[in-house]
């Protein structure tokens, strides 16, 4: 591949890289995409919920042949203590009418499919190749060096879609190391079981699905959540906590022990019983939000997706931000080329401007203070779930005690655990952070 020159090189074949490459190739640009995995998706981990809207903007008829598992009709949020949960379930038949809004997917299969569309659009994809570093000419990025013989390739612009670890951006000095308090470490398993069992257990039809998000004692006071998603003939179960909290946990709990604890919870165990574990995976999620987004463009380079920290942790959205940033980066390059402009920092600044106008930056900005609030308020993951569960138990246990006394007892337990001032200030902090 020596001396080849491309309009653009995209590093990575996850959702952000595929969105960027697809958009560039579709516009007729000469694009090379490089992926280190054996096939696109073989290195990638997600929960995984696919939000239709972001993909629709790139491939409007994706539903015709994309590998989708189940469309989601019900969302549950559970607050766990050691033996019980208090939760909400939201189910709507409106979610049961096409075009569906979200689906569960299996990332290895989905990425492979997305990649097939990218190649149909005319891009050149090389797999099993790790990009080792960016080739720089002073400030300007002029290409990449891969771990293959003669692996230097040149382009007008390099799009870094290399995911959360972004080794390339760090080596090039575009930004520093990620901080442990800005990433969550998630572990997950896939458990296979017959479709009919899933449908009966979750009270759903052949194609519809359920999402359960969990918080509480299962994370041992660490900031984090658990999740359980229904696929066609498998369940995905996982848990993720801030990496800094894993490190600081005095119990020195391993991530896999935490996952086992979640699986053994009396509210979860019956749902996953009999499931055959076929894979165990782990991945980081950049959850630093607005304040952690680095510089995302420069002389001949752009950063998209997890590499730029584009994850909305409050809503567990990532792949849709990845696809949107990939698309907007590509559109910026296409517009600049069409106008005959060089791909300098000055021209590529349009990418940041487009992002600021999109839901991506607006949402990240809205929740900009949430990570800090959660970091400094572990009671959201310990005291409150426990209190709620105790309150529910007090109320629902019929034992001859009158209801008024019970209510007084519940209020008393909340006040003594957090004092009224603390409760009010927590409510205020959360309100301000998500306002």
């Amino acid at each position: 591949m020596a001396k080849e020159h491309f309009d653009a090189i995209v590093v990575g074949a996850g959702p952000s890289g595929n969105a960027a490459t697809y958009t560039l190739a579709k516009a007729g640009l000469k694009v090379l995409q490089i992926e280190r995995g054996e096939y696109p998706g073989s290195k990638n981990v997600q929960g995984a919920i696919l939000y239709a809207n972001a993909l629709e903007k790139i491939i409007p008829d994706f539903r015709d042949d994309a590998p989708l598992e189940r469309h989601i009709i019900e969302q549950r949020m559970w607050m766990l203590d050691d033996t019980s949960f208090v939760g909400t379930h939201y189910r709507s038949d409106d979610y049961n009418k096409p075009p569906y809004n979200r689906y569960t997917i299996i990332r290895a299969q989905f990425d492979k499919w997305f990649s097939s569309k990218v190649r149909e659009a005319g891009a050149l994809l090389i797999c099993e190749t790790t990009v080792e570093e960016l080739l720089m000419d002073g400030q300007r990025c002029i290409g990449v060096r891969c771990d293959r013989m003669g692996g230097e390739v040149y382009a007008d612009v390099v799009v870094l879609a290399d995911g959360v670890n972004s080794t390339l951006a760090r080596k090039a000095g575009f930004h520093g190391e990620i901080e442990a308090r800005n990433v969550a470490l998630a572990v997950k398993e896939i458990l296979f079981m017959p479709e009919e069992v899933i449908q009966a257990r979750f009270n759903i039809g052949e194609d519809s699905g359920v999402v359960i998000e969990m918080m509480g004692s299962v994370t041992e006071g660490m900031v984090g959540t658990g999740f359980l998603y229904t696929n066609k003939d498998s369940l995905t179960i996982g848990v993720g906590c801030m990496l800094s909290d894993f490190k600081a946990n005095p119990k020195r709990t391993t991530p896999y022990a935490l996952l086992e604890k979640l699986k053994a919870h009396p509210s979860i165990a019956p749902l996953i019983e009999g499931g055959e574990m076929k894979e165990y995976a782990a991945h980081l999620i950049p959850e630093g939000g607005f304040h952690a987004v680095p510089q995302i463009y420069g002389e001949g380079w752009m950063i998209v997706g997890d590499s730029g920290g584009f994850v909305n942790a409050a809503h567990r959205e990532g792949s849709n931000l990845a696809m949107t940033t990939g698309r907007l980066a590509a559109e910026t390059v296409i517009a600049a080329k069409a106008a005959g402009q060089p791909l300098t920092a000055k021209t590529l600044a349009a990418y940041k401007a487009a992002l600021d106008q999109s839901f991506v930056m607006k949402d990240l900005k809205k929740y900009r203070d949430l990570p800090e609030v959660l970091h400094t308020s572990p009671q959201f993951f310990t005291t409150y779930p426990a209190l709620l569960n105790r309150a529910a138990q007090t109320l629902f246990t019929v034992d001859g005690v009158d209801k008024k006394t019970k209510e007084r007892e519940i209020l008393g337990s909340f006040k003594s655990a957090r004092r009224l001032g603390g409760l009010m200030s927590d409510a205020f902090k959360i309100w301000r952070a998500v306002r």
Partner: protein, 96 residues
């Protein structure tokens, strides 16, 4: 809770790049002498790092899930040389 992570890792598909570990402990003496927490020994989701009795830390990267946690938590000592495996090697998720 005693959990056997080897059993979990056994389900995964993996292509070992023999003799070329992609992660290395830069200076083993730092782990023994300077690092109090040795957090890598319990944070790594594949249990690649082991605390030995004499305060040394050993690393075997077979089974590594390529998450990056060990590098990120070692900020204080920056003692982990971390790269992705060569193209095509390492963990191969079938589901992800």
């Amino acid at each position: 809770m005693n959990v056997n992570v080897e059993e979990k890792l056994f389900q995964n598909r993996y292509k070992v790049d023999h003799g070329r570990p992609h992660i290395q402990i830069k200076n083993p003496a730092v782990c023994s002498n300077d690092c109090q927490s040795q957090a890598c020994t319990f944070v790594c989701p594949a249990s690649c790092y082991k605390a030995e009795g004499n305060r040394t830390v050993t690393l075997i990267t077979d089974g590594c899930l390529e998450c990056g946690s060990c590098r990120v938590i070692c900020t204080e000592h920056a003692n982990v040389a971390w790269e992705y495996p060569r193209g095509g090697y390492g963990i191969l998720f079938k589901f992800g």
